[in-house]
Amino acid sequence: MSAPLLLELREVSKDFDLESSWIKRLFVARRKFRAVDRVSLTIAQGEVVGLVGESGSGKTSVAQMILRLHDVSSGTIHYRGEDIAHQSGRALQPFRQRVQMVFQDSQSALNPRKTIRQTMLETLRMRHGRATDLEGRAIELLATTGLGPETLARYPHALSGGQRQRVGIARALAMDPEFIVADEPVSSLDVSLQAQIINLLKSLRTERGLTMLFISHDLALVNHLCDRVAVMYSGRIVEIGLPEDVLRDSAHPYTKALIAAVPRGIRGRRASVLASGTRALAEGVGCAFAARCPNAMAICQQTSPELAPLSASHKAACHLVNLP
């Protein structure tokens, strides 16, 4: 890939404290939950990377650390070569302008007591100060996302889910970002609206050269939008590669199970359904997926597999693929 690197996560981990009492947190051994475990990921300029996994796999925590909504527990995050994980306050401001987020629940992401005009102008003022034609700019942005100027006068509750999601995207664009983190932006929408939003994101990407981290649990969506796909399980990236690699030539049993779970209509029914798994709270030994894995071997209980290259573009963390 020749495009310059925009974002680089190196061995990023996130631990959450399980102890609610601060006295215990200070003086007693802390019980911790490792939500993200040594994740390394690079995103080149103009690239769209999909992050997939079930609820609780740590994908949202990764996004929140990239946006500095959470601090990292260990590891570094470099954005354009600068370590943003250990900056704070004013130093982060230029970064915060360049990186924007589109949320899953557009209803709670918009202020219910503000009209779309107020919401849009507030954001635009942050970007442009008191420049004259902010309203014209707001109309332009809404038009990019397929909304008419009449939307400005509406309150969020008067819009449909798809319209609200478009406002969420328009608001993110108001900051002229170069990188957008979209956390399940379509999972609460109808299929017809999903297609509209996905095509919108695609066109924004070609027209504005946006770089994107697209978080989803829907592999079919990721297949349509992304240049690269990373699959997370239990806080770790278990497989990463081009969509062709990960979705058509998947190596990790978890990826295979995710693929099998996608509804296929009349074109045939999946073979098996993955059993529910409970996630160990303690830092366990062995592969986190072993308990649910149909191909688990003795070694899987003992050592945790590391990401190993399968080809130039494809990596997986599984003892099965690392066998000689």
């Binding site: 996905i198 079919a220 969506l221 996608v262 009349i266 359904v273």
Partner: protein, 343 residues
């Protein structure tokens, strides 16, 4: 009226269908149902002229976008239309009795015991301040004469049936202590606790992960097989519907635009809307295909003109579409309401 089973439906693909009745006896017959809401000084139809019938043991999918009238049709069957709405016309005959003519007292004994519903969002459908067991026992005792001990035993049975591990623990849990998938299982358990004949599932998997969705779909198939349930499965996802249902009804703007055996609908969709619903779904097996867009939005309540409700968004309109609303007619063994020529 929709023919219960067109002759073409005999040929099935690789998908195995369980619980197919050989000669379906009608369980539910909806005839010219019209549900309206006041809009300004007039009434606007949320459901207009909807007729279909469902045989015992059948699984029928009700498809369409938000606002297509699919959930409203289901609520009308349950007798749960929001207070501002009104059933203006038609009849809903369930097991030989017209539900619309039934006094509320009697309807209450049908609802939850003979017909029950599973809602989309289990967190808001479950009572947050009662344990799962209390809610289940309450439902069982409200519809029967069981003692508390008997109801408790039944509750445990039901939770086990819906595949919840450690039912005793789940009985003592509050909704917030369960995961999304477990909550949905518990909710399905409550819906089947009184052994209903008809189960309506209103987008039961939309809020769930794909893996959990697959489990819930399997659960519905298993329940259908084991309890001889008749199922109405409401969704906007055609692929998902096809995994469970024998027959599908596609709704748009409060009317039925196409209906028939699932395999027929997929292989020969006649209505442009059905076709677009199939094509707008992203699929794993095609690389970089542009998703087909259904331009525009579904019509707002009261905004439907005299002609075909889909006309403003349709890529294949002719003059007639604007003026006259097409009626359902038979085409290749399924029913379609479209003026366009057969494809």
């Amino acid at each position: 009226m929709i023919p219960a089973r067109p002759p073409e439906g005999a040929q099935h693909h690789s998908v195995q269908r369980e619980g197919m009745p050989s000669s379906p006896e009608t369980l539910l017959q909806v005839d010219k149902l019209r549900v309206a809401f006041p809009l300004g000084s007039s009434l606007a139809d949320a459901v207009s002229d909807v007729s279909f019938s469902i045989g015992k043991g059948e699984a029928v999918g009700l498809l369409g976008e938000s606002g297509s009238g699919k959930s409203m049709t289901a609520l009308a069957i349950m007798g749960l239309i929001p207070p501002t709405g009104r059933i203006v016309g038609g009849s809903i005959v369930f097991d030989g009795r017209n539900l619309l003519a039934m006094p509320e007292e009697e309807m209450r004994s049908v609802r939850g015991s003979k017909i029950s519903i599973v809602f989309q969002d289990p967190l808001s459908a479950l009572n947050p301040s009662l344990r799962i067991g209390q809610q289940l026992i309450h439902i069982i005792r409200a519809h029967g004469r069981e003692s508390i001990q008997e109801a408790q035993r039944r509750a445990l049975e039901v939770l086990d049936l819906v595949g919840l591990p450690d039912p005793t623990r789940v009985m003592k849990s509050y909704a917030h202590e369960l995961s999304g998938g477990m909550r949905q299982r518990a909710l399905i358990g409550m819906a089947i606790a009184c052994r209903p004949q008809l189960l309506i599932a209103d987008e039961p998997t939309t809020a769930l992960d794909v893996t959990i969705q697959a489990q819930i779909v399997d659960l519905f198939r298993q329940l259908r097989r084991e309890l001889d349930l008749t199922l109405i499965f409401i969704t906007h996802n055609l692929d998902l519907m096809a995994e469970i249902c024998d027959r599908a009804i596609v709704m748009y703007g409060g009317t039925i635009v196409e209906s028939g055996v699932v395999e027929d609908l997929f292989s020969r969709p006649q209505h442009p809307y059905t076709n677009m619903l199939i094509d707008c779904l992203p699929r794993l097996d095609d690389l970089h295909r542009e998703l087909t867009l259904i331009p525009g939005m579904p019509p707002a309540l009261g905004a439907i003109a005299a002609g075909c409700p889909f006309e403003p968004r349709c890529p294949r309109t002719i003059d007639r579409c604007r003026a006259v609303r097409p009626a359902l007619e038979s085409r290749f063994g399924h029913m379609v309401a479209c003026w366009g020529s057969p494809v």
